[in-house]
């Protein structure tokens, strides 16, 4: 049975930490993808993703809007990525690597905007995008998994695309990209 984000979080708070695994399973790929646009390599992205989930788990009680779990998680991940970057700056060897990455990270702004836009979607639409693209299910398989008619899946996807495009357009017009992680502060 697929629990909603809110249900998973409520169960975790009620002493069922194993249900946090569902959230990790649900968001590990988009989170990794988002982090991959900000840190040095895949290994760092994976480390940062793990750390972000662990911090999210320990701070779960502070999350006021469980349905916004993913955008809240991106905020945490943004800080983890920054910390990772700063700690590297203290090491001469690593600083060189960091300098090499910095311009690249900026050039990939457009890349991680996609995950931020996904975070801004209503949960039902977000779930559809995650299942279709990050889990690699076909529309028919998404329909079976969610117990929905195929037509509802394509209509929801259609609406999700429209919302994503609006969100991406708004982000591309925004002046400051560098401070974007601050939009996702803990609430």
């Amino acid at each position: 049975m697929d629990l909603t984000d809110r249900e998973c979080i409520e169960r975790c708070r009620d002493g069922h930490p194993e249900d946090f695994g569902r959230l990790v399973d649900r968001y590990q790929k988009p989170l990794f993808s988002w982090l991959a646009g900000r840190v040095k390599d895949g290994q760092q992205a994976e480390e940062a993703a793990q750390e972000s989930f662990v911090r999210a788990f320990t701070s779960l009680k502070k999350l006021r809007k469980p349905e916004s779990f993913y955008s809240w998680l991106l905020g945490i991940a943004g800080r983890v990525a920054k910390e990772q970057f700063r700690s590297e700056e203290h090491s001469r060897r690593e600083r060189e690597a960091a300098e090499a990455i910095a311009p690249d990270a900026t050039s990939r702004d457009e890349d991680y905007q996609l995950e931020e836009a996904i975070a801004a979607l209503p949960e039902s639409h977000r779930q559809m995008i995650l299942l279709r693209y990050y889990e690699g299910l076909s529309c028919q398989e998404v329909a079976t998994r969610l117990g929905l008619p195929l037509g509802t899946v394509t209509k929801t996807l259609s609406r999700a695309y429209a919302l994503l495009r609006q969100e991406l357009a708004a982000r591309e017009n925004a002046e400051s990209k560098i401070n974007k992680p601050e939009n996702y502060e803990l609430r």
């Binding site: 069922h16 930490p17 194993e18 946090f20 695994g21 990790v24 399973d25 590990q28 790929k29 988009p30 990794f32 993808s33 991959a36 994976e46 993703a49 793990q50 989930f53 662990v54 788990f57 320990t58 996609l114 995950e115 995008i129 279709r132 693209y133 990050y134 889990e135 690699g136 299910l137 076909s138 529309c139 398989e141 195929l150 394509t154 209509k155 996807l157 259609s158 695309y161 994503l164 495009r165 991406l168």
Partner: protein, 569 residues
């Protein structure tokens, strides 16, 4: 169709879900309405970006490590549950703490038998918590030169061996008869021995070249984490029984029913370890609590088939430093493992999988190798491939399909390969004094494949009949045996691993439902000549391949957005 109807159907169209009639109407509308056409492009562009992101993260799997840490955090808070748990098994925050934490989950969701199975595995991990090295030798049903994770129930067993040093720094080596990969602490190199081609990753990789599942077994802690996490997430069954080992000691036997989650008709089902439904049997010594053996059975329609057996495990034994050295042939070909952006990259990036397949085969047909390389991640095109695919004739290209196991697309194709001239080197310089095959050469007498006899050809019960054959007659008999798929007869002329390689190919073709006899090329054996230089006979033959009918696997290269040929040729 008006604009509103068109917009309603754009996503269904982009997803390939429209029936022929509405599809034609929509296409007609798009030709006449610039706004809707722009909207369609925007939808497909976004869809493409999402597809690329999904594909790039297909391998990401951090549920296990995160949950281990999450549950460790809980444990550190000394909850009632963790106290009970600690008392019962006495795990501290040692190397086995992760496994212990996983068991906590197991208790929450599994029945008692499964939890006990988890306990045995966790004890096994604790028993080897301070592992400095591991070496094991097993047998896997696979093709000798194929990927390390390739399995095929139709193959004979092939030896597969792993050495892994955990301290002071991580190093590993994995080897099967025709493929070896070594991570020496600085870089990771793989060599395919029968083509003398190598690839190098200029860093120390935890696992690479498709070796992950073997290293998972080598690292018991990870095995437990992964097996239990998967069992938890996917509802795999776990069971514990008791047995008696050959040494008379009690054994704890943990059985895990692992499911790939792929439907029965999925193209990649049961082709690789990760895409297979398997029963994994871990046997632990009850006294030492160490893992003693592993057996893995493949679930097939014909019943369970043992595909992997591991019964020699050496813990903490010194490993000779020469193991970390890979001796490469002097003329090894290095693969470049990266695609470069092309000046006209967009032309290729906008191709469908079917178009890319056709373009690749057309380039091969024209022997335009610089063009063919645009569809390969590994370049340059090696000599063997040029010989094999050069001048081919395309018969048909089908419609692409996908597997749930990964992002690749598979395009059915039929091609006819051009007749080619080869030579077989044969020698009777062996105790049985009969001619056996020792090498394959091209028309220019360049060595294509060395066929090494690890053990000398045995003296057969009817050895006389074979020792009287001339070099050309021996080759003719070998080809006749091959056309009958008479494996025993083939073994009289060529080494065991070569026969196994053929068996693997035939097995794969059978899985495709192909008439395998039609796939075997016809060979016309010609004259033989003596080479004083090589002290061997060379027998000429012309090979006319039948029609090759397979599925070309294509992946999308993220940086360039182009399709690359990922297998199936």
């Amino acid at each position: 169709m008006n604009c509103a109807e068109c917009r309603d159907n754009l996503v269904a169209c982009a997803e390939g879900l429209l029936e022929r009639e509405p599809l034609l109407e929509l296409q007609a509308h798009l030709k006449t309405c610039a706004d809707c056409a722009a909207e369609f492009r925007a939808v497909t562009n976004l869809q493409q970006r999402l597809v690329v992101r999904g594909q790039a993260t297909a391998e990401v799997s951090i549920v296990g490590p995160v949950m281990r840490r999450v549950l460790q955090k809980k444990k550190e808070k000394e909850s009632v549950m963790s106290k009970i748990f600690k008392y019962r098994w006495g795990f501290g925050l040692s190397a086995a703490a992760g496994a212990a934490a996983i068991i906590l989950i197991t208790f929450l969701v599994f029945p008692k038998t499964a939890a006990t199975a988890a306990e045995v595995m966790a004890r096994g991990a604790q028993a080897v918590a301070k592992l400095t090295s591991i070496h094991f030798r097993g047998e896997l049903r696979t093709s000798p030169q194929d990927n390390f994770s390739y399995i095929n129930a139709d193959c004979s067993f092939c030896t597969i061996e792993l050495w892994e040093q955990f301290e002071p720094d991580l190093k590993w080596r994995i080897e099967k008869p025709l493929r070896v990969a070594v991570m020496d602490g600085d870089s990771t190199t793989s060599l395919i021995k029968n083509g003398d081609v190598a690839a190098k990753i200029p860093k120390a990789s935890i696992n690479a070249f498709d070796s992950g599942w073997l290293q998972q077994i080598a690292n018991l802690s990870n095995t437990i984490t992964n097996e239990l996490t998967n069992a938890l997430a996917k509802g795999w069954k776990m069971n514990l029984t008791e047995g008696t080992g050959t040494n008379g000691r009690t054994e704890d036997i943990v059985t895990i029913e692992a499911k790939s989650g792929l439907p029965a008709d999925d193209y990649l089902k049961n082709q690789f370890f990760e895409t297979a439904d398997t029963r994994r049997v871990y046997v632990f010594d009850d006294q030492t609590e160490k893992l003693e053996s592993v057996k893995i059975y493949l679930h097939t329609d014909a019943g369970d088939i043992l595909i992997f057996k591991l019964d020699q495990i050496d813990y903490n034994q010194p490993i000779d430093p020469s193991v970390w050295k890979l001796n490469l042939p002097a003329d090894v070909s290095w693969y470049q493992n990266e695609m470069q952006k092309l000046p006209d990259n967009e032309k290729y990036a906008s191709m469908t999988a079917e178009q890319a397949t056709r373009a690749f085969f057309e380039a091969c047909s024209q022997e335009n190798w610089s063009e063919a390389e645009k569809f390969l991640r590994e370049s340059p095109v090696d000599y063997l491939t040029k010989q094999y695919l050069g001048g081919l004739e395309i018969i048909s290209i089908g419609t692409a399909f996908t597997s749930k196991a990964g992002p690749d697309q598979f395009v059915p194709y039929e091609i006819r390969l051009r007749p080619q001239e080869f030579y077989l080197r044969v020698s009777n310089d062996n105790p049985a004094k009969r001619y056996v095959i020792t090498g394959v050469y091209d028309s220019k007498l360049q060595l294509l494949q060395e066929l090494k006899w690890t053990n000398a050809p045995p003296i057969l019960p009817d050895n006389d009949a074979y020792s009287k054959l001339s070099p050309a007659e021996a080759v003719r008999d070998y080809f006749a045996a091959q056309s009958r798929l008479d494996w025993d007869e083939m073994r009289k002329f060529t080494p065991e691993y070569d026969v196994e390689s053929d068996q693997a190919e035939i097995g794969a073709a059978r899985k495709e439902g192909l008439d395998v006899h039609k796939l075997i090329p016809s060979r016309e054996v010609g004259d033989a000549f003596w080479s004083a230089e090589q002290s061997a006979w060379f027998v000429k033959y012309i090979e006319t391949a039948g029609i090759k009918k397979m599925n070309l696997a294509l992946g999308k290269d993220k940086p360039t957005g182009r399709w690359f040929v990922d297998g199936g040729w």
